[in-house]
């Protein structure tokens, strides 16, 4: 079972990395770009587990290790 996890900063948290890239894009002429936010994409191969199990594992992994819910939120997708 494979899965993708997306970890992004909560909307309320300033994302200086995204802002820096937005500025860079602006200088390159993409002045239409209104916002850039940077997150993490984590691709996992969960091996031989059922979908239900995969889902249960993913929630625990995200809460415990992959994201710090003080500043980040996560989404996952089983594929």
């Amino acid at each position: 079972m494979k899965a993708k996890v997306y970890v992004t900063l909560k909307k309320s948290i300033a994302d200086p990395q995204g802002t820096a890239i937005q500025n860079a894009l602006g200088k390159l002429g993409y002045s239409n770009v209104e916002e850039v936010r940077i997150g993490k994409l984590i691709e996992l191969d969960l091996g031989d587990v059922s979908e239900g199990e995969a889902e249960a594992q993913l929630v625990k992994m995200c809460e415990g290790l992959l994201a710090n819910t003080v500043i980040e939120e996560y989404k996952y997708e089983i594929i």
């Binding site: 990395q17 820096a20 890239i21 860079a24 940077i38």
Partner: protein, 226 residues
């Protein structure tokens, strides 16, 4: 001889390079702001270490597009000397003046240390005052110094003798222990270690000084030939 040190807004080893040239070598040196369009009258351009534009996305990614880099390319194309140290090396690979790329250190940590390097070739304007095979100690300070290139590129670099420095104890996972390389034309050097931090005995190390003296030698030689 006149050196130019490029200053990106996030450069932070610019002053170290500046003082190495001015105080240690006693030569002329100027800071060059990143939006400068023309580089006139410089014999050697130094791209210093630091975090060019914050480097949040990837080291050197944004610097590649700065105005001064077009001028640096012209300078290099004219066969003049360019040296990129640490972040400068990363910028030179991003902009295509040197092959390959630099990725996160294998241990995922920033490493600041003084490490032994082996001088692999001394037939370059940057290494002529070292012995081939000599071991020198030079500081490193980087989080993304792990050199990668595809096999073909590596093979070609080896054949051409473009690998100038290798690590004795590979600290960051670099392919073929690569610490510093030059281009085919041998006038562009990129290296992760910081020779400018090893130019004075008071800092406990002057092994890097000969790199700058090699450059001076080369520049003086080419003046004579003109």
């Amino acid at each position: 001889m006149k050196f130019g040190v490029i200053v990106f807004p996030g450069s932070n080893c610019d002053i170290d390079c500046f003082y190495a040239v001015k105080d240690v070598l006693g030569h002329e040196v100027e800071y060059i702001w990143h939006d400068t369009e023309k580089l006139n009258g410089f014999d050697c351009i130094i791209l210093p270490g630091g975090f060019s534009y914050g480097d949040y996305l990837r080291c050197g990614a944004v610097a590649r597009f700065s105005r001064v880099m077009a001028a640096v390319k012209e300078h290099a194309a004219a066969g003049k000397l360019v040296i990129g140290i640490c972040n400068g090396f990363q910028v030179l690979t991003e902009v295509g003046l040197l092959p390959g790329a630099l990725v996160r250190n294998k241990n995922l940590k920033f490493i600041c240390d003084t490490v032994p390097l082996k001088v692999e070739a001394n037939d370059s304007p940057f290494t002529s005052l070292y012995q081939k095979g000599e071991i020198i100690n030079i500081p490193i300070a980087h989080g993304e110094g792990n050199y990668v290139a595809d096999e073909e590129t590596l093979k070609k670099m080896k054949e051409n003798g473009q690998i100038l420095f290798t690590y004795v104890d590979n600290p960051n996972g670099s392919m073929s222990d690569i610490a510093g390389i030059c281009n085919e034309g041998r006038n562009v050097l990129g290296m992760m270690p910081h020779p400018e931090r090893a130019c004075e005995d008071i800092l406990g190390n002057s092994d890097g000084k000969r790199l700058f003296e090699s450059i001076l030698n080369a520049l003086e030689g080419s003046l004579k030939n003109e």
